[in-house]
Each structure stands twice: as structure tokens, then as C-alpha cells.
């Protein structure tokens, strides 16, 4: 069995060798002396080439870290004052936390967080979103504050309110998705009934209905046939959304910066992108829009027509 295995592996011996699964001495037996030297040089060259092409984020982090260490010695007094201030702040914050029982949940770049609320309601936070609520008044008033995007599965009970910058959403027990950023506000109802209050006007959503307000555009209402938002399954889907917001989401998912100064970022995008592979996500968004993207430095990308 073992012999058979090595035979199969040797069929594409170069691919095994460059991965380090085949020793130099083994390769030497398979190719001529000239070839062997040429391949060794090629391997080294590839290694150097790829290293030099590699993004330098970690280098920058290390520089910051090293600078930090060096400045520490000089700024001793400042450090003392800062640490006392920090301690004071910490205790004040701690006190405030005990006092109003506020709970804050935050998700980072490319991260999804599932949160169980006190009544077993479930919230899934999409990347770079924040949700907070107060434990104290929970029994009388189910109320959470959201900035970003989240999918709610609310247990039946008293009124449940999601407060956002763009408006409030009230339900009794249902499943719905809320996305609220600076200029983007969208609520999709998946189950039950959802009431959205926006600019003092009330809108009632039935299952598959949605409410959307982008920037200063008029309010839109689209129908969705899915049972769950696709982003909870690792894919963000868009229907006629200005490219600007898709780019914002890409930045949030992959912790990168995208420069779109050269293109018209208000063109409309319909489609989806995968959260796991950045290159695929880029292809599905930018190729579809006929855009080129160039990696400039580490995690900065520039878009061009």
C-alpha cells in the first residue's frame, strides 16, 4: 500500500517537492543534475518573488509594536497619568455598567456573532455591527439598539423593539432582518408581522415583505422568498443596491480598504458575494460590474473602469 502511495505521489513530483513533501535528495534521483539545479533556483526565486509580493500588514503591526516599546521609557510620567486616568475611567465605566446593566455586543471584521437574549430570542449579528440592551428593564420592555445588520428570531411575548438611527421596528414575536447604517436602512420580514416606524410614519410588513430606504431615495418595497437572510449562510445578497454599500460590506467582511474614487459607485448592483474567499467575492462583484481592481499596498484596493 505504501509503495503504491509513493508512486502516485511521484507522478507530479514537482508539485510535491515545492510543497516540501518531497525531499531534495528524492528529486535529485528523478531529474538530471542540470534540471535539479535549475529547479532549486526556481524554487528559491519563487519564494523570494512571492515574499516580496506579500502584503506588509504584519510588518506595520510589528513596527507599531516596536515603536510602542521604545517610547514607553521616555514617557514615563505621561504613562503614569494615563494609567491612573485609565483606571478611573475603568471604574467609572464598571460602575455605570453595574448601575444600568447595559450589555453591549459587537462583532468585528468578517465576524458573525450569535447572541441569545434574556427571553431566549436569538440575534445573529453580521460583520462590524453592534447591539446593546439594558438588562434592568428587560422584563417590562424588550428593547435593543442596533447599528449595522442583524437577523432577529424573537420569542413570543410582550412588544419587542429594535431601535436604530433610522427608525424603530416593533414586533410581537417573529423573524426579521434589520440593516441600519448611516444612510442605509432595510428591514425584511421573514415570519409574523413587523411594524417599522421611520420619520414618524408607520409601515406594516407581512412575511416576504421588505422596507428599504437608501440615502435620500424614495422608500422601496421588495419581496423576498427566502426563509432566512443569505448572509447567515455565508453569502451577502443584494437586489438593486448602489455599489457603494456593497463595497462597504466587502470592507467589513474582509477587513480591507477599497478606494472607489475612480468609479461611479452609485451604479446599481444585483448579485451576491461569498464571505469566505475574498478573491471569489471580488470576482462576483467587480467582474460583474465590469470593474478592474488593483491591489496597491497590503490591504488597500483601488477600483478602476
Amino acid at each position: 500500500m505504501k509503495i503504491k502511495n509513493t508512486n502516485i505521489e511521484n507522478e507530479f513530483y514537482l508539485s510535491q517537492w515545492i510543497e516540501g513533501n518531497l525531499a531534495d535528495t528524492e528529486l535529485k534521483k528523478l531529474v538530471s543534475e542540470d534540471d535539479f539545479l535549475a529547479y532549486k533556483k526556481l524554487k528559491k526565486g519563487i519564494e523570494v518573488f512571492c515574499d516580496l509580493e506579500q502584503p506588509l500588514d504584519t510588518s506595520f503591526e510589528r513596527i507599531l509594536h516596536r515603536m510602542d516599546k521604545k517610547t514607553k521609557i521616555r514617557k514615563l510620567h505621561l504613562k503614569w497619568i494615563a494609567s491612573i486616568a485609565a483606571m478611573l475611567l475603568f471604574f467609572m465605566g464598571f460602575y455605570a455598567l453595574i448601575n444600568n446593566n447595559s450589555v453591549l455586543n459587537k462583532s468585528s471584521f468578517g465576524e458573525q456573532k450569535t447572541i441569545a437574549l434574556l427571553d431566549n430570542s436569538k440575534v445573529i449579528l453580521n460583520a462590524k455591527s453592534a447591539l446593546n440592551y439594558s438588562k434592568k428593564g428587560w422584563k417590562n420592555k424588550r428593547e435593543v439598539f442596533l447599528n449595522g445588520e442583524a437577523f432577529f428570531q424573537v420569542e413570543k411575548g410582550s412588544t419587542f423593539t429594535v431601535k436604530t438611527k433610522n427608525g424603530n421596528i416593533t414586533v410581537l414575536g417573529t423573524q426579521f432582518n434589520v440593516k441600519s447604517t448611516d444612510t442605509f436602512f432595510e428591514v425584511i420580514c421573514y415570519e409574523g408581522k413587523v411594524r417599522v416606524v421611520h420619520n414618524n410614519k408607520e409601515y406594516i410588513l407581512n412575511p416576504t415583505n421588505s422596507f428599504r430606504k437608501i440615502n435620500k431615495n424614495p422608500i422601496e418595497s421588495l419581496n423576498y422568498s427566502r426563509k432566512k437572510p443569505t448572509w447567515t449562510l455565508g453569502e451577502s445578497t443584494y437586489r438593486s443596491v448602489p455599489l457603494k454599500y456593497v463595497i462597504e460590506d466587502l470592507e467589513k467582511q474582509f477587513n480591507i480598504q477599497i478606494n472607489s474614487a475612480k468609479i461611479n459607485n452609485s451604479s446599481i448592483y444585483t448579485g451576491s458575494f461569498n464571505h469566505h474567499k475574498m478573491d471569489l467575492a471580488f470576482k462576483s462583484v467587480f467582474d460583474a460590474m465590469g470593474l478592474k481592481y488593483n491591489k496597491t499596498a497590503s490591504n488597500i484596493y483601488i477600483l478602476d473602469n
Binding site: E11, F12, Y13, L14, S15, Q16, I18, E19, D35, A38, Y39, K40, K41, L42, K44, G45, I46, E47, V48, F49, C50, D51, L52, E53, Q54, L56, S59, F60, R62, I63, R66, M67, K70, K277, D279, L280, T296, A297, S298, I300
Partner: protein, 171 residues
């Protein structure tokens, strides 16, 4: 305001300078030292030195400052190495075979590699870049591209055969 924009003591501007020149500086240092690790370290040292002297270096001269510092560090390190080497030889004479595997990678050779990558078939290039630049395992690439691991290995093997031919032909 104008002053603020050009002041490299501002973290934002410092980061911009890093993003603009770090790669070039590392490349420059690599060809001096012929060693990736040293190039990386010295590149970092140069930026730390720039940060320390940020009030004395202007935005426009930052690039030449970085390269000059890098070059000086190179000279210092080489001088130091010479001293060490002299002492070493005095004590043990039989360690002349410092590293038989030492391979010099010239600038031209890297250009050849770059051209060779461009000459690969799209399928080969895809596998090559995923494997070498993104450091993915063949198994992961196979899942990603929805092909068998064998097929990935075949493409990689083909890519290397082709690259060896191309990099050799141009010489």
C-alpha cells in the same frame, strides 16, 4: 491645515508613507542582503528611525531618507559581519563551506519569474498563485476550484515545468 497633511508625525501620514514605500524598500534591501529576513528587519528599522525623526523629515524627502537609512544600515551590518568573519577564520579554518545551498537570486531572475507567471495558462496560474502567494494547501485549492487534488497537483507540476523552461530560455 496644509502643514498637517504633510506632517509625517501624524500616524495617518506615517502609515501612508509605509504603504507607499515599504514594498520597494524591502525589495531594494533584499537585493543588497540576498536574505528575506534581514531585508524585513532592516526595512522595519528604517521606518522606526523615520518615525523618531519625523519632525525633521518632510513628506517629500521621506522616500530618499528611508532608502539612505536602509543603505547605511546595510553598510553597518556588512562591516560588522566582516569583523565576525575574520575572527571566525582565525579560530576555525575549516568552515569555509558556509552554505553550499546558497543561491543568488538576481533582479533579472525575478523579472523572469514574473514573466513566466504571466505566461502560464489561466488554470495553471490560478493554482500557482493560490498555492504560492495565498499559501493554500492543494486540498484547499481543490475544494475552492471544485476539482480533484490530483488535478491541482497536475496543474502545479505543469506550471513548474513550464516556468523552468521559460526562465531558462531567456538566459
Amino acid at each position: 491645515m496644509d502643514n498637517d497633511l504633510k506632517n509625517i508625525c501624524k500616524p495617518k501620514n506615517f502609515k501612508f508613507i509605509f504603504k507607499t514605500y515599504a514594498k520597494d524598500l524591502k525589495r531594494f534591501l533584499y537585493f543588497k542582503f540576498n536574505d528575506l529576513e534581514t531585508a524585513e528587519d532592516v526595512m522595519q528599522d528604517a521606518f522606526i528611525k523615520l518615525w523618531k525623526n519625523c519632525d525633521r523629515v518632510s513628506f517629500e524627502t521621506a522616500k530618499s531618507y528611508l532608502f539612505t537609512v536602509g543603505n547605511n544600515l546595510f553598510i553597518n551590518i556588512k562591516k560588522h559581519e566582516q569583523v565576525i568573519r575574520k575572527n571566525k577564520y582565525r579560530h576555525t579554518k575549516n568552515t569555509t563551506n558556509e552554505s553550499p545551498e546558497f543561491l543568488l537570486i538576481e533582479k533579472e531572475f525575478l523579472t523572469k519569474i514574473e514573466n513566466a507567471i504571466a505566461d502560464l495558462s489561466p488554470k495553471q496560474r490560478e493554482v500557482f498563485l493560490l498555492s504560492r502567494i495565498e499559501k493554500k494547501k492543494y486540498r484547499e485549492i481543490a475544494i475552492l476550484l471544485d476539482i480533484s487534488v490530483k488535478a491541482v497537483e497536475k496543474r502545479m507540476h505543469g506550471a513548474l515545468l513550464k516556468m523552468r523552461k521559460i526562465t531558462d530560455l531567456n538566459s
